[in-house]
Point group: C2
Chain length 358, copies 2
DNA sequence: TTGAAAGCGGTACCAG
DNA sequence: CTGGTACCGCTTTCAA
């Protein structure tokens, strides 16, 4: 591996000084370097396929064009990886590189991950969580421009911008979809009551009923968790050994995996989907919602958008510092100006249909 | 954000020169620097919480202690993220940092990702794929120490070490598990015939039958793909409208998601699992296999081990160059010395049981 | 035992 | 318009 060409090599080949090379290649040639020299420099650069050494640049400029991404589990896990994908797209398109560190749910590693990244002189940080949640922001994050994605500052004085899905609206629109299909008895298998997202989706469910001037039956809401077994047992409780007229005609699930459990229960009980029962998922997990039998209607989380929005905001802050005030848009955010809500997207497939006649 | 302490700051505080600081803090103090000065230096370093600037170090040493990870989809996707987790564990424990770039299945981005990483002066590269597959190794990877994880060199002259799961053995042991439970009619819903892993698992299935001196029924093997719907339709073909005596008593699936499809089919047909039908998955996808109803017996892929093995081999190569020959162990590898097979792990849960009497 | 100085690759300032 | 030079922070060699 012969060493890469340096600015000095280019200078020699073009018969000029290193400074001239630097000026020209950074677009500050005009008015400083003779047109002729400029051409020779540019040509020499091409011939040697010269590109400046990023390490030297970093040392000199005190900017590395690296963004640190800390996540509680996203890198490793099955979920929400597209947040990082979306962030990386933006970073890449602007000549930045991302360095991700996953703490694998070990909060003790938060600080050390941030310190490692800071030590490496990242220009900014993004914290990404698996699932919406409040975050105890590692103090180090305040030392460089930072943004949160899928989480929000848990501290008394939220200081960092955060991009999160509009879960209330997601819950509402999912419910509205079912109401529009004529369903009136819609059970809600919510995620864990202790999670951040589940109660918001429930709030959306209530809003949809309120808009339709319909009463919410409290006994139709249960908190079954995020997993297949939770969905299964929740559905069995609603359906097994219950007179058809007493059964809900649709079940809204905490997520797509819970919906698998519901589908399993429906199959076991001989109910057809969506003929006898409509099933609605949440997340639009790929290779799950799209390949279910029947394919699952679901509310897609705006993962890529969230990541892209976070990275865009971060780079903006890095490249134009000082615009910190009042640039964010929000109406009723937890912390006005800092919260950006990103809408979810309804994906209609085959597991929801008109409510059965009774 | 006041700037970090530099070696010069430490030197001043200790009343010595920068060189002394460098020597002492790198363990080469004895015999070069007076004991007294050493103590003062170490103390000053602690007081200023000094740590050397990695950028300057990189520039100086031409080594960045960064490892580039290129993946076709792993960062973003639901699968195999633990390969990166395992690799990162090892890297972190040895003071390295990983920079991951995902090409999202765009082969055209392979080369550019590698170049970007190389440009950033990574000390080594790992290519990680989602699912076992042959890889057209980006040429840049040959310029620094590199290792492949979950993939192998597709070229005529394989040049890079690779760590892959022992899929043949995995298929064999999964089948043996069912044979030991008394099953004799075991259907195999294999993944796509065009994939790398599926045919190997089928080979393992054949080996297990051969060991038991049993005949393989070719019509029991079908290639249904990796998804829920494939499993569902494959199972319906085997089970729906078929006399009980003609039905397989167990179905081995391409992966856990296909197993979901099979479970859905079984439920729809009123078959109990594992009473009437045993179901075996593959992968041990978390939040899937472990939360299925019933919980899925499956063959766990050695994801973390694979990542850890790859990173270990890579760092070995980086820190002791020249040991390249004959260090790998292999018996019948594609390229002796370069291939490391890592065993899968049988995870017995509740979806497999004794074969029903007939 | 110590400190001065060169150099890693680049940029930016300042005489000429 | 040009080239020399200092500096980013660190290691290493070499002379004192």
């Amino acid at each position: 591996m012969q060493r890469k060409a340096t600015a000095l090599d280019v200078a020699k080949r073009a018969g000029v000084s290193r400074s001239a090379v630097s000026l020209v290649l950074n677009g500050r040639g005009d008015g400083n370097v003779a047109k002729e020299s400029q051409d020779r420099i540019r040509q020499a650069a091409v011939e040697l396929s010269y590109s400046p050494n990023p390490i030297a640049l970093s040392l000199r400029n005190q900017r590395t064009r690296m963004i640190g991404i800390v996540s509680d589990h996203v890198v490793v896990s099955a979920f929400d990886g597209n947040i990082i994908g979306g962030a990386d797209d933006v970073a890449r398109s602007r000549g930045f590189v991302t360095v991700a560190m996953d703490t694998e749910f070990d909060a003790a590693r938060d600080a050390s991950a941030v310190e490692t990244l800071l030590d490496r002189q990242v220009d900014g940080l993004i914290y990404v969580t698996e699932g919406l949640k409040p975050l105890d922001v590692p103090p180090g994050m305040l030392r460089v421009p930072s943004v949160l994605a899928n989480c929000y500052d848990n501290g008394p004085v939220p200081g960092l911008p955060h991009m999160i899905p509009d879960e209330v609206r997601g819950g509402r629109e999912a419910t509205t979809h079912l109401l529009e299909l004529g369903h009136r008895d819609i059970a809600l298998l919510a995620g864990p009551a202790a999670s951040a997202a589940a109660p918001l989706r429930v709030a959306g469910y209530r809003e949809a009923f309120a808009e339709g001037r319909l009463e919410v039956r409290e006994d139709r809401i249960s908190w079954v968790g995020w997993d297949i077994d939770g969905g299964f047992h929740g559905a069995m409780k609603l359906l097994d050994g219950v007179f058809p007229a007493e059964r809900p005609t649709a079940i809204m699930c905490a997520n797509d995996r819970a919906a698998i459990g519901v589908a399993l229960a429906a199959a076991r009980l001989g109910l057809s989907v969506p003929g006898d029962l409509s099933i609605m998922g949440y997340d639009d997990e790929s290779h799950v919602a799209d390949t279910m039998v029947p394919a699952l209607t679901t509310m897609a989380l705006p993962l890529r958008e969230m990541g892209a929005a976070a990275m865009t905001a971060l780079l903006e802050q890095i490249e134009n510092p000082g615009n910190s005030e009042g640039s964010g848009k929000s109406e009723k955010g937890r912390a006005p100006g800092l919260e950006t809500l990103i809408p979810c997207r309804l994906v209609i497939r085959e597991s929801t249909g008109p409510a059965p006649r009774r």
